[in-house]
Symmetry: D4
Subunit: 217 residues, 8 copies
Amino acid sequence: MNRPFIIDYDRRQRLGFDEVIYGESKSINLLLGLLAEYVNRNQNVLITRVQHKKGKALLKKHHSAFFDKESGIFMLKPLEGNDEVKRVGIISAGSSDIGVANEAYYTLTYMGIGAEIIQDVGVAGLHRLLDRIEDLRTYDILIVVAGFEGALPTVVGGLLPQPIIAVPTSVGYGTAKNGKTALHAMLTSCSNGITVVNIDNGYGAAMSAFRMLNLKK
Amino acid sequence: MNRPFIIDYDRRQRLGFDEVIYGESKSINLLLGLLAEYVNRNQNVLITRVQHKKGKALLKKHHSAFFDKESGIFMLKPLEGNDEVKRVGIISAGSSDIGVANEAYYTLTYMGIGAEIIQDVGVAGLHRLLDRIEDLRTYDILIVVAGFEGALPTVVGGLLPQPIIAVPTSVGYGTAKNGKTALHAMLTSCSNGITVVNIDNGYGAAMSAFRMLNLKK
Amino acid sequence: MNRPFIIDYDRRQRLGFDEVIYGESKSINLLLGLLAEYVNRNQNVLITRVQHKKGKALLKKHHSAFFDKESGIFMLKPLEGNDEVKRVGIISAGSSDIGVANEAYYTLTYMGIGAEIIQDVGVAGLHRLLDRIEDLRTYDILIVVAGFEGALPTVVGGLLPQPIIAVPTSVGYGTAKNGKTALHAMLTSCSNGITVVNIDNGYGAAMSAFRMLNLKK
Amino acid sequence: MNRPFIIDYDRRQRLGFDEVIYGESKSINLLLGLLAEYVNRNQNVLITRVQHKKGKALLKKHHSAFFDKESGIFMLKPLEGNDEVKRVGIISAGSSDIGVANEAYYTLTYMGIGAEIIQDVGVAGLHRLLDRIEDLRTYDILIVVAGFEGALPTVVGGLLPQPIIAVPTSVGYGTAKNGKTALHAMLTSCSNGITVVNIDNGYGAAMSAFRMLNLKK
Amino acid sequence: MNRPFIIDYDRRQRLGFDEVIYGESKSINLLLGLLAEYVNRNQNVLITRVQHKKGKALLKKHHSAFFDKESGIFMLKPLEGNDEVKRVGIISAGSSDIGVANEAYYTLTYMGIGAEIIQDVGVAGLHRLLDRIEDLRTYDILIVVAGFEGALPTVVGGLLPQPIIAVPTSVGYGTAKNGKTALHAMLTSCSNGITVVNIDNGYGAAMSAFRMLNLKK
Amino acid sequence: MNRPFIIDYDRRQRLGFDEVIYGESKSINLLLGLLAEYVNRNQNVLITRVQHKKGKALLKKHHSAFFDKESGIFMLKPLEGNDEVKRVGIISAGSSDIGVANEAYYTLTYMGIGAEIIQDVGVAGLHRLLDRIEDLRTYDILIVVAGFEGALPTVVGGLLPQPIIAVPTSVGYGTAKNGKTALHAMLTSCSNGITVVNIDNGYGAAMSAFRMLNLKK
Amino acid sequence: MNRPFIIDYDRRQRLGFDEVIYGESKSINLLLGLLAEYVNRNQNVLITRVQHKKGKALLKKHHSAFFDKESGIFMLKPLEGNDEVKRVGIISAGSSDIGVANEAYYTLTYMGIGAEIIQDVGVAGLHRLLDRIEDLRTYDILIVVAGFEGALPTVVGGLLPQPIIAVPTSVGYGTAKNGKTALHAMLTSCSNGITVVNIDNGYGAAMSAFRMLNLKK
Amino acid sequence: MNRPFIIDYDRRQRLGFDEVIYGESKSINLLLGLLAEYVNRNQNVLITRVQHKKGKALLKKHHSAFFDKESGIFMLKPLEGNDEVKRVGIISAGSSDIGVANEAYYTLTYMGIGAEIIQDVGVAGLHRLLDRIEDLRTYDILIVVAGFEGALPTVVGGLLPQPIIAVPTSVGYGTAKNGKTALHAMLTSCSNGITVVNIDNGYGAAMSAFRMLNLKK
């Protein structure tokens, strides 16, 4: 009963972007079939949450494709430098959140939006963040990634006026496990006007930024 | 040990907006003291979550002030028509969510942003929503308010390309109680690029819209 | 202390169907013993939730048996085309839910009920669903399978008048993990008269449909 | 910003039944306005979850209307005996669940379906249930209402072949509080083919039965 | 910093039974050291929750010891027939709960108490239980083991007058996962006077029975 | 649809005790009707969880009845001294748990079992407990009532050999709210052979003790 | 069965402080009885969580006593200035947390320890906190009180080296409700060496500080 | 996008201690890079939560380093005997908690603080604890580690006057799983002045002790 995947070709017309494939629960065979279809149409495609083994299998067939093992992002055609202005700053406290930050970064790249990752500006060493405030003020939008107690978006939101998209991550143990604490902390932030996406959802944060940047056009 | 409230006067400089007072857990006396200070400075001020009884007490002292009992919004000076363009559409499924929709509406008005509430476009009667799609396309930003199963932002997000701020409400019973189900449904939406704020947080949705609209400047 | 499994032979008389074996926590040896008993009696039997390795071991002994690795369904005798009318439509948003959809499909087949799977009609691409409404109206019963935010049964329930059995799946991450969000969303649906079964319980959905179809007799 | 309620008049065409009003979060004034509109059109209407005080206020204006204070059901025109065959049996363990049982009963009556409530057949006194098995076999559909540990639908489902709609109630204390335990017990029933609706949702159970009974036509 | 385990030798004097070793989180080396000490003193000892691999390693050193891989029970000296009267009946619905039932059975054996396991008397096939009621009446105490919706102790408690120790198990999926549903259902049973132990805690059930049987002396 | 309550008169034959009425969700009128029936038959009856106002209303009609406002226990005929031997000791940490302790105490009295309440032996002042150990050893059964962190049954279970029935209470705030913490602590006690009943369920503890004391006969 | 409260007079010898009375679930009569006993012994006593009405009733009998309605703290003898050095700084974000801050303040006063409350230094206006860092460095211990997302202790812990006792409060709505989010955020703080007490437990924070200050002696 | 880790070199100046590396989610390569930097500066460094395989890989490159596989603690330079006075007593109930106890022990050693682990003083065998009370009184601070029902800190806190840092562990099964029960029990302890850290957070307990011991200087 395993029917072929039907691609939603008119999504671009409706929403301004193509359908993106959620790779986590799809088999290698199904993904290879889908990729073949995109190759035939000479279109690029983005697949998210591709596990390490599956990514390596896809690369074997598609040598020039791009795969980032930290985030599981797979693209048929790697994209580079298509927007010289860095519009979105992706802030995170440390290397533990790199997978989620990369998912946001590469999704933005795929959408043609310049972005930059700013690491190691966590709340425990506040001066590192304060030293970079003027720098951070230059981005149109800030994506703030944090696990554990998830305090970083609250602090950033109290200091800077841009749209802030908070991404809780499932980094931590004990009561931090699964990212629920960071998620709830971000939703109840005492800073005004912060919006939140699902736990570990770097992709969703990037798509939100894409919707917001349409306001500049 | 009940010290006076110290107003954060330089927030406007930092973030572009004044401090807003969270009224829910403040006494009538404390609120009257704060209002007196704003009257002296001839400034307007917004207070959120003012309970019905407290709102009536404040109105007795400040006859020309504005108080909306559905949402608990209190403003020293009512604002009208200061932006003729309706930039933000506030969509909700029905009259049960009116308190949260109004909180967003009046906060936007206070921030000088034109807004409009579109009621009765719920998922159970989908055609009413589909009939208004072209209408809804004209707003810069959509705030989508929903209780129960919280499906409305997902449907709207699949049909329209703007930034979508989803607001779960605590309307419902059984497993819908407290708004947790609507919140989680919005966070895990299969539509791309939806952002979420806390349960019943119409104020936060408005402030997010405010941050996003800066991108147009 | 591992006593033999006693088969409930008079269940058919009481309820109109035979006992079905829950395979997940039974050993290969125990299952082989049970199958031998059914072979002796020349009866068919359905086993659910047979893990991949166990399914392959059972097939080695019973070459003509049927095993679906997506759903873990095992039947001694494969059944085909025993009801030409397709009475039950099984709707799902995509290939990630295929295991649960198949569990419902093969259970219905085993019960002698014609069914069909309709994939890729998710909420994020609503027009694909709207295009098929007249088609969907032809089934007696609709089983609607969905993970993530679980909005699909709500939308279908607002458009179509048949009995709707909603099946939440454990597909998703973050707050969608384990299917709790989809379950709660379906239980609190603003569409009227939707019933729900346990997370990932395609088998239960099929058995409910079986009970309902007795009403036609 | 409190706009008038727009009635979904074409729901009957789409789904075979009229829109029902959820009364819990609507004010007396709003409800009176809605009732006036139905009186003008000389149509009956069903309002659910009307609190005691609000129900009495509505009765003052509409003397011939019907209001059941146990369930909060309000109907403009009381309906009696419009179906002499009792198609749906509503089973409950005791008088504590009467509100939910009545909500199902009166909704069915409003939909023109004959129903009957069978009380005091709980699991703790199993013989009372066993004594009535042949009686219960005569209904087309069984709605089984239970709080506390929610075992009744499981026992009924193992004894009788009809469609079974389980309704968990929020009756109980400690770990039974809010009905979550009964809900989860019903969802994980070891009896086959039981479907479940939200906690205390007698209305939803009745609407599910309505959808199922269409199969008889 | 891994200090030796100090045995609580005077527990027998205080409570009437020796200390039992919780094996789950202890290494093979630590367990072998402990066993050596008991061999030296020529005493028997019970170790619970010994994983399969660890159990096989212990058996290599202690050939005459007893190990049950279903429950993880390990005893230096196997015990047989030390009480001809079967005082405790251990009831379960099926072979999925065998590990927990065996843990109770072997612990009782170790404590010198005769016990018997009665399988396949679940709620879905009620007549199998009703057929054995007179049989079950002969035990002093009933331990009732159940996963999924956990209804069995409620039914047994409504039919039989003995002390009933309910043991929820982590068998099931969806909302049954981890045994929480069965636990809560047992705690909120509408049958009177049922007591409950932790999820999967066959050992605790046996020890409770041991304490109760002192009342007969 | 409010049918009369049908009394389960043969429960005594089956289980050795009469049906007890759960008063919490029954109206004064329903309870008065039930009491009249018992007066006619010249039988005593126990009603649990009678709220203060309802208890006073019942007393007005039944002057010689007994009502304890702490626990909500109501009995038609007060019972005194019907068992001179105090078989059950009810231990609690302080006056906050008195309602639950009394519910157990009066239920035991009604069942004809001598009992005694021992207050102020909490874990925070351990010496008060240690001073009374020999005293506590004289009871057949110990019911241990505790809120907050629920440590008392664990300590008692490590010191004394009798059957121990742990009753968590909903006393406390923060993470102790609703008694969940005490319940879980008692279920996971490192002391052996403790059984647990639902939160605040003094009645259930007494009924368990009743079942256990049958072993002495 | 309401026995008198037995005072734990030798607690001072064991732990260095007297027993404190938890007032929340004690009746006015019971509290008056206890107070009389302390008056007789000419001793001071601290009662926590005394509700407003009960506090006023106690004051009527004890005119010179002290009662703070924000926190519910009651003391027979008000204490003032018994330690000129302010050893403990109690930091909070705003007037919403005043009840919890006062509970800590008055408990410390009762224990003879100088303390000070520093309000309005929340995370949303970070500069107000940064401006006072040198000031805050002068306290031996910092008690940090916060509701909503509970980020304040994390920020303070990254800036200052003293022992930090974090107190989550139940201030907030939506996912902040009941203080669980603030509690979990504090437990998973990325700042090192922060300890936490129960939600709203200003009393516990003060007692922890008391234990720590013994290290200075 | 994997940028280098930036070390927070001035943390010592601010807080009195160096940055510690959280090893759990960092790759071997990243950790080796960091260690090389510390070797160059001839500084010691502490890494926590290093999994077994990763620890062995690090030891291969750094032969003289220290790695404890129970706790996952890694230090470039092992430290011994740098404080002859044992200031902190680390109490635990048994060998199951050894990983967490060791994490606290080695962190204290790294900070230059003498510590000692006291095992096998659990609540189930209370006399073993009571026998050592005078011994335990000699430590400045007590870290109390416990899983299951987490009662140990409550008992210790009622007997001894020092600062008590309670550490819940994730040891146990059923309702004890993940350490939530022990955590909540410790937070709601009826003993006064106990502080708590995150589940399994031996490191955090040690750092809290470090902050407290500054009070002695």
